[in-house]
Amino acid sequence: MSNPQQLRYSKEHEWLSGAEDGVSTVGITEHAANALGDVVYVQLPEVGSAVTAGETCGELESTKSVSDLYSPVSGEITEINQDVVDDPALVNTAPFEGGWLFKVRVAEEPKDLLSADEYTEFSGS
C-alpha cells in the first residue's frame, strides 16, 4: 500500500488533508483499516461540535473489535461523510477517498503530524 504524499498523518493512524478555506478532511489510513478488519459501523462527531487533537470523537466498529476514533486536529466539525455512515465498508475499500470520515475547520494543529514518508516508516507499511 502507499500513503498519499499530499496528506499528513497522526500516530493514531488518521490522515489529514491540506486545508481549503481552513477546512481539512480527515480519514483513517489504509494501514489502520487493514488492522481493523471489515468495518461495520462508524459513529462520527456531530456537525457543529468541537473536537480536540488527540481526543476521542467517535467509534469505528469492526467484526472483531471496537476502536476509538481520534481527531488529529482541534477545531469544529463542518461536515460528516453520510456515505460512510450508510456503507461503513468504504473505510476498507477506499480509506483515502470515498471512505473519508469528517471535515473540520482547523483551529489548532499539533506540531507532531507526520509526512507520508514518516508515517510509512512509523507504521511499517
Binding site: G37, T63, V66
Partner: protein, 375 residues
C-alpha cells in the same frame, strides 16, 4: 520490554504458507494463527455458499487406547462414550467433580479400543492432565498426540465435491459426526465429517509433514469452484450464526452443562460412576426447580455490535449478559448469544436491549441457531 511479554507463540506446520498468502496472524491460546487472509466477511460467505479451507492445527488431540479405553472415558467424561460405534464421533464434555465444565470435546471412536479426544487449544493441557489423572486404575493409555497431527478443515456446500476429487474414501457413506481412515491426495488422513461452521464439511487429521501438500491439493481442486482460505475470524462468526458454544464464552468452569442449556450431553443412565455425577445430579434438579439463565439469540435492530460481557437489559435492569457478539454476514445485522433470565428468554420477549457502552440498544430475542443450512 514488557514484564508480561508472552512466551514465543507456537507455529503450525502451515505457518510459512499462511505468511506467503498474506494472512493477518493473531495469538490464539499460545499459537500464532491466521485471523483472516483478506476480508473476513468474504471468507464467511464463501463457506456458506461455496467452500473454505481452515488450518486448525492448534486443536489438541489426545489418543486413548487399551482394553479399558471406553470404561476410562465413560468415567472421565459426562457422555456415554462406550456406546459410540467404531467410526462414529460424539460431542461431549469433561467436567470437574463440582460439575463445572472443563472443556467441550469431540471424541472419535477410531477402533474398538482406540479413541481420539479433540480438545480446544486453550484447554488441551487441562484435558490431558485430567485424563491422565482419571486413568489411574484403568487398563488404558492416555497419549498426548498434539504434535502428531496437523488439522485441516474444508467446510461448505462444495466441500464434498472437492474432497471426492482427491480421495477414494466412501464419502457418501460417511455420516455427519463420523470419521474414517483414508487417503486424500496421496496423504494418509483421518477423514471426519465434522466442523464448527454450520455447513457440511470435513476435518482432515494428517501428519504435520503432509499438511502443506494436502493444503495445496485442496486449494488446487477447490479454487475453481470458489474455495478460499479462511481464518479464525470467520470461523467465529460462522459458529455464532450456527448457535454453537465456544469455551470461554458460552462455557466455563463456573457453569455446569445444565446451566449452559446443554444438560442433554450428561448421560446419567450410563453404567458406573463418572466424575461430576453427584454435583450434576444436583445441578439437574436445581435447573428443574429454578430455571437458570437461558442461552438465547439476540438480533440487533440497529447497527451497533454487542460484545462479550455487555449487559442485557430490560426495563432499565440487567437481566443477562452477552457471551458472544458479532455482525452477522448472513443476516446483515449484529447478532449475539447471551444468557438471560428465564423471564426474558422467550422469543420475542418485549423490551430487551443490550447496554452498548452506556446506550441501551433494542434487540430481538430469538431461539438459537440464527442460521440452519438447508439439507
Amino acid at each position: 520490554m514488557s514484564s508480561n511479554a508472552p512466551v514465543d507463540p507456537r507455529h503450525t506446520a502451515l505457518d510459512a504458507l499462511h505468511r506467503s498468502l498474506g494472512a493477518t496472524m493473531t495469538d490464539f491460546a499460545g499459537w500464532d494463527m491466521p485471523l483472516r487472509y483478506g476480508s473476513e466477511r468474504d471468507e464467511h460467505l464463501a463457506v456458506r455458499t461455496k467452500a473454505g479451507l481452515f488450518d486448525l492445527s492448534h486443536m489438541g488431540e489426545i489418543t486413548v487406547t487399551g482394553p479399558q479405553a471406553a470404561a476410562l472415558l465413560d468415567f472421565a467424561l459426562v457422555g456415554n462414550i462406550g456406546g459410540v460405534k467404531a467410526g462414529r464421533a460424539r460431542y461431549t464434555m469433561i467436567c470437574r467433580a463440582d460439575g463445572g465444565i472443563l472443556d467441550d470435546l469431540i471424541v472419535y471412536r477410531l477402533a474398538e479400543t482406540t479413541y481420539m479426544v479433540v480438545a480446544n487449544a486453550s484447554n488441551a493441557q487441562t484435558v490431558l492432565d485430567a485424563l491422565v489423572e482419571r486413568a489411574e486404575g484403568f487398563d488404558a493409555e492416555v497419549r498426548d498426540d498434539r504434535d502428531a497431527y496437523a488439522l485441516l478443515a474444508i467446510q461448505g456446500p462444495e466441500s464434498p465435491g472437492i474432497l471426492k476429487s482427491l480421495t477414494d474414501a466412501d464419502l457418501d457413506g460417511l455420516k455427519y459426526y463420523a470419521g474414517l481412515p483414508g487417503t486424500v491426495a496421496g496423504v494418509p488422513a483421518l477423514i471426519a465429517r465434522t466442523g464448527y461452521t454450520g455447513e457440511d464439511g470435513f476435518e482432515l487429521f494428517v501428519a504435520p509433514a503432509d499438511a502443506e501438500k494436502l493444503w495445496q491439493a485442496l486449494t488446487d481442486a477447490g479454487t475453481p469452484v470458489g474455495l478460499v482460505p479462511c481464518g479464525l475470524s470467520c470461523r467465529d462468526t460462522l459458529r455464532l450464526e450456527a448457535g454453537m458454544p465456544l469455551y470461554g464464552h458460552e462455557l466455563s468452569t463456573a457453569l455446569t452443562p445444565f446451566d449452559a442449556g446443554l444438560g442433554r450431553v450428561v448421560k446419567f443412565e450410563k453404567d458406573g460412576d463418572f466424575v461430576g455425577r453427584e454435583a450434576l445430579t444436583e445441578a439437574a434438579a436445581r435447573a428443574e426447580s429454578q430455571p437458570p439463565r437461558v442461552l438465547v439469540g439476540l438480533i440487533a435492530e440497529g447497527r451497533r455490535v454487542p460484545r462479550a460481557g455487555y449487559p442485557v437489559v430490560a426495563d432499565g435492569k440487567v437481566v443477562g449478559e452477552v457471551t458472544s457478539g458479532a455482525p452477522s454476514p448472513t443476516l446483515g445485522k449484529p447478532i449475539a448469544m447471551a444468557y438471560v433470565d428465564a423471564a426474558h428468554s422467550a422469543p420475542g420477549a418485549p423490551g430487551v436491549g443490550v447496554d452498548i457502552r452506556g446506550s441501551h440498544e433494542p434487540y430481538e430475542v430469538v431461539a438459537l441457531p440464527f442460521y440452519k443450512r438447508q439439507k
